[in-house]
């Protein structure tokens, strides 16, 4: 149970040393800087936001370039690499790289601009393609699309939205021309008679076909498909107005690419050439970007370097300073405090003070436990860090954690795989991310516990030993006999054991509550919220065990004798009355107090459901074994033939991998739940904030001091 003790640190230094002192603190990475004072007329904070933003931007540029680089030249990473922590970098190497950080940044900008160029070029491609597609129907025409005609003639080049033939089109045009000529005549004669246009217009419709006047024109259909016909029409200049009108009526439209100066065939060739050129340019740019892959490390460095400087400036932003001095306040782990003070005093003209944080202060929390309990810190952290007055529950939690995890997974084979797998990863990856390492250790210890429980329950890949012996060697008598008992044949026994574990777990939680209250000197709470409940719950359980109904149901071989059961009952009753009387002690009004107390006593149902909740130990434990058996049985269906063996191996592998995955997940989630809800619910509120020292927050590199 170890929360690392913290001290307040106060540093007062000369302004000229400001940069070096800050860098020193960042390098040490042991101080969480928190300035409490507000700026006044003597102490001012510096506005360094613009610089910070600039560094943030630079860091982002490098990140963006890295992202682009990964797209064009993916980094080769093995599965194991993804567990790796940031690389270590010697201080001298770091200093050498700092000098060329600007160059790295320029490189990143170059990559970004290259990528932009690629995108611009890629945007042009679809346009080119649609132009080529638009020209394709015209490919057999020997005139450019922008051909306007000769001195005497006018050309109409365009498309009609339906299928047609040259002869058909010609006759339609002539028909319409005749009709229009007619209309014109009647129209002219009637311009004087206003108001009767409607009538005559209707009449002209009947007489339209009579004209028979033809319009001289060359009509050619270049290509025709059900959606579109490309037509070329050449008419005399004098008829051009008439022709335009007729064509408009037919749905004639001029193609978009009329600007083309060349014959369509030539035009397509040119466009294709252009497209090829663009594609090869894009490919060229891509390889240019990919060539930067060799500089990936430098880009990573730039990203880290600027992020680090931005971090420094954000700290600088909050530091009050007078004309020639500056002040830093913060927290430092007590064990490092003196060493840090000495280091600072020896290098700078500086005043450093350490002091005990006040009782009311919200001191940041850093957990430290031995190797066995350390992995469970992640579980505690994911609930909440211990608050001001609370102890770190990691150690006590870890014991229950491993036990419950093992009971839920409860298969020796799976335990061995889990232990060996995590051990392998931990040995291969030396420099692992701290969070990942704790996770691996958690499963490593969980795996060991699983092996033990698996042997106790006689489960090794389910009933694999028996199935293999019976199917392939004709020896159904060989089984892996459980060291304790077999859950499948005695589920009640397992259930009772699970409840027993639950009772121990819950009472331990109450015990920690008691310890915590006593430690805080709150003896009233210790008695009312813990001792009375101990009596109530403990007495109740013992009394229940004296009832034959309960012991028969649970299949227990014993029951509590007469005097003991009476004593237990009285203890429970005293506890109950105590809870009713004290449960609402913060209320002044006696009536209200009793009501609240009664409600508090009703909380005993909560204890009942908490204990029932431990039946998940049985449920998940059985689930692993039963599903494993299902797969074993499925695999052995074809018997002892060569293909039977093959099928068995395949089903065995797939089935058990699946089962491990599902059940490790289940065991992890439900062990967490038992800790969070049933256990922490008894004594733990959390609410602490984590210790986040001012440090070189880097993603890719960790700077290490040269020895």
């Amino acid at each position: 149970m170890a929360k690392v003790p913290m001290k307040r640190i106060f540093i007062c230094g000369l302004k000229r040393d400001r940069k070096q002192i800050l860098e020193k603190l960042q390098m040490e990475g042991m101080v969480q800087i928190e300035n409490s004072g507000q700026p006044d007329e003597y102490l001012k904070t510096m506005d360094v936001m613009p610089q910070k933003l600039l560094f943030d931007k630079n860091s982002n540029v490098a990140e963006q370039a890295l992202g682009i680089l990964t797209r064009y030249a993916p980094e080769k990473k093995s599965l194991l690499d993804s567990f790796e922590d940031a690389k270590e970098l010697g201080r001298s190497e770091y200093d050498a790289k700092v000098a060329s950080a600007e160059d790295y940044l320029a490189m990143a900008e170059k990559i970004i601009s290259l990528e932009k160029e690629i995108r611009d070029k890629e945007d042009q491609l679809p346009k080119l393609e649609s132009r080529i597609d638009g020209l394709k129907p015209w490919v057999s025409m020997d005139l450019p699309l922008n051909y306007k005609g000769t001195d005497m003639t006018e050309a109409f080049i365009g498309s009609l939205p339906y299928e047609t033939e040259a002869s058909k089109l010609r006759s339609v045009i002539e028909e319409l021309a005749a009709k229009r000529a007619d209309e014109n005549e009647t129209g002219k004669s009637e311009t004087g008679k206003n108001g009767e246009n409607l009538e005559t217009a209707a009449a002209s419709g009947d007489t339209g076909a009579e004209g028979g006047m033809s319009i001289p024109a060359v009509v050619d259909v270049i290509s025709s498909s059900p959606e579109m016909s490309c037509v070329f029409i050449l008419s005399l200049k004098k008829d051009s107005e008439l022709m335009r009108g007729i064509l408009k009526e037919l749905g004639f439209s001029i193609p978009k690419s009329t600007s083309a100066k060349h014959v369509p065939r030539e035009e397509i060739k040119k466009l294709l050439h252009k497209k090829e050129k663009l594609t090869s340019e894009i490919a060229g740019l891509r390889t240019q970007i990919a060539d930067f892959a060799a500089n990936r490390e430098e880009l990573k460095f730039a990203s880290d370097y600027y992020a680090m400087r931005a971090e420094k400036y954000s700290v600088l932003y909050g530091i009050p300073q007078s004309e020639s001095a500056f002040f830093i306040e913060g927290y430092v782990p007590a064990a490092y405090g003196e060493a840090l003070c000495d280091k600072l005093r020896s290098s700078f003209d500086v005043e450093v003070e350490l002091s005990e944080p006040g009782a009311e202060e919200d001191v940041p929390v850093l957990l430290r436990n031995g190797a066995f309990s350390e992995p469970v810190e992640t579980v505690v952290e994911s609930y909440s860090l211990p608050g001001k007055q609370e102890i770190d529950p990691s150690r006590i939690t870890s014991i229950f954690y491993y036990i419950f995890f093992g009971m839920m997974l409860s298969d020796a084979g799976y335990g061995i795989l889990l232990t060996l797998g995590t051990a392998y990863v931990m040995l291969r990856v030396k420099n692992m991310k701290p969070g990942m390492k704790k996770m691996m250790e958690l499963f490593f210890y969980g795996g060991i516990s699983t092996i033990i429980w698996g042997l106790a329950f006689g489960s090794f890949f389910g009933n694999a030993v028996n199935v293999i012996a019976a199917t392939f060697f004709g020896r159904p008598d060989i089984t892996l006999s459980p060291l304790w008992f077999e859950p499948m044949s005695e589920p009640m026994r397992f259930l009772v054991f699970a409840f027993a574990c639950g009772i121990v777990h819950i009472l331990t939680g109450l015990g920690i509550k008691l310890y915590q209250c006593i430690k805080q000197g709150d003896y009233v709470s210790a008695f009312c919220d813990s001792v009375l409940w101990f009596m109530f719950v403990g007495g109740g359980i013992v009394y229940l065990l004296s009832m034959p109904m309960v012991t028969d149901m649970l299949g227990l071989g014993f029951s509590i004798g007469h005097p003991a059961s009476d004593i237990a009952a009285w203890i429970a009753i005293v506890g109950c009355i105590g809870v009713v009387l004290t449960g609402g002690r913060e209320s002044k009004n006696w009536f209200k107090r009793l009501l609240k107390g009664a409600y508090a006593a009703y909380g005993i149902t909560g204890y009942l459901s908490d204990i029932l909740s431990y039946s998940r130990l049985l449920a998940l434990g059985l689930a692993t074994g039963v599903i494993a058996q299902v797969f074993n049985q499925m695999g052995s269906m074809l018997g002892a033939t060569w293909y039977g063996v093959l099928i068995f191996i395949i089903i065995f592998l797939i089935g058990h991998i699946l089962n491990i995955g599902i059940n490790v997940l289940g065991a992890y989630v439900h062990t967490n739940r038992l800790q969070f809800v049933e256990f922490f619910g008894k004594f733990y509120d959390g609410g602490g904030r984590s210790f986040e020292p001012f440090t070189e927050k880097t993603k890719y590199f960790k700077v290490k001091e040269d020895k």
Partner: protein, 160 residues
């Protein structure tokens, strides 16, 4: 007609596997849709949302477990299948808690997982808490499972 007992018992096994399976399929399905949305925005959250998506999947496994225990007890998986009508009906009833508890709790858990996935999308550091909410729903599936298991073993112990 002498095999009616077997028929009823088999009905129970089938119901628990099928209904709990349907529940899990629906639950995992809706959670999966939410998970895909989160991964499009932030692929780094894949492993976390995958865990949350899988949480409603356990009911299907519990259903399978009950079905399998029933099948073993009534001798379908080998051995002699001598089930009286009474026994068969009792087995059928024993399977019902898991069948219906599994069906509805898995769907509810799936919806809860969707919200938890939303939580992780906004605050990836709160994964531990996000995982607990759907796990609370699962308690009731576990209680159903418990009663089904105890009933099935109880029935076979009656020796009817």
């Amino acid at each position: 007609m002498e095999n009616m007992g077997l028929l009823f018992a088999l009905c129970g096994a089938a119901l628990s596997a099928a209904l709990a399976g349907i529940g899990s399929a629906v639950g995992v399905g809706i959670a999966g849709r939410a998970a895909s949305g989160v991964v499009t925005e932030d692929p780094n959250q894949f492993s976390k949302v995958l865990v949350l998506q899988l949480l409603p999947g356990t009911q299907g496994i519990y259903g399978l477990l009950i079905a399998f225990i029933t099948l073993t007890q009534i001798g379908i998986m080998g051995g002699d299948s001598n089930v009286t009508l009474q026994e068969g009906l009792l087995y059928l009833v024993s399977c019902l808690p898991m069948a219906f508890g599994g069906l509805f709790s898995a769907i509810a858990q799936g919806k809860c997982s969707v919200s938890a996935i939303g939580l992780v999308a906004k605050r990836p550091d709160q994964f531990g808490k996000a995982m607990i909410f759907p796990a609370m729903v699962e308690t009731y599936a576990i209680l159903s499972l418990l009663i089904s298991i105890l009933s099935i073993f109880g029935v076979s112990g009656l020796g009817l």
